[in-house]
Amino acid sequence: MTVVDPKPARADQADLDKAAGRPEDAAQWTARLRESAVEALPPQKLLPDRQPAYVASWIYVFGVTTVCALIVVIATGLLLAVMGPNWWHVSSTGLFVNSLHLWSVEVFFFAMVVHLWGKFFMAAWRGRRQLTWITGVVSFLVSVGAAFTGYLSQQNFDSQWISTQAKDGINSTGAGAIFNVTNFGQMIMWHITLLPLCVIALVGIHVLMVRLRGVVPPFAAKGEAIGAESPAGSEVEA
């Protein structure tokens, strides 16, 4: 006679819960990685409900505006990749999504430049935030490349004109041998795989660094002290 466990799934989960607390498992790399990750970025720090009082300024909204624009860029880019050039050149919906892709890039760069100016004049690399600053700068540079290869991938006279104008500049740097702007296959691969992955990874690290080190405080006014971290009780809801 076969004995059937009435709740096998729950029993398995109970075993896993029990195993998670075993001291002999603490030395495993999975346990150590999990614990160090949770210690560095606990959930309440990863997605906080409150921000320091000094964040209540319009200059602090341009970082998240850039991230929102990037989400629209990626979503519309995926749609364009699925449907193809005929769709984005001929159909009304395709033209609309193509325009959304272009204008979300415009918003992305607009917000990123204002964000950059704000952080530059705040010296946002203070307080062990060098990696936050550097990942932001590199994200900006890689995004320029992503946008450039996008203009080369439009499949129209504009992209032909840009590529033929750009080839002389790129060739004068010596990079033309490996980065051929008139090679459409190479440019579209850079545009839809390599550079977007780099931008997403860099922006992800940048945002995680902001969460890890906190938002940079403004410079103190004369005779006023502002610490690297906000004093207790001076926070506002996010």
Binding site: W58, F110, V114, W117, G118, V236
Partner: protein, 63 residues
């Protein structure tokens, strides 16, 4: 839908006529289209506005 597109196109087309070669600023070795100069000007305006316009936080607590 097509009629709507024609109306919208005519409306915005009458405001900004793009059916001509671009206009450029020549300043020494710097050459820039008016469109790009306008975007830079707008970014400066938005940057200054973001610093100067007060931000209304939730209930204004802790300020």
């Amino acid at each position: 839908m097509h009629a709507l597109a024609l109306v919208v196109g005519a409306l915005f087309g009458s405001i900004i006529d793009l059916n001509h070669p671009g206009h450029y600023i020549h300043w020494g070795f710097i050459q820039m289209s008016y469109a790009n100069a306008l975007v830079i000007l707008l970014m400066i305006i938005v940057f200054l506005a973001a610093i100067l316009i007060p931000f209304r936080s939730h209930k204004g607590e802790g300020r």
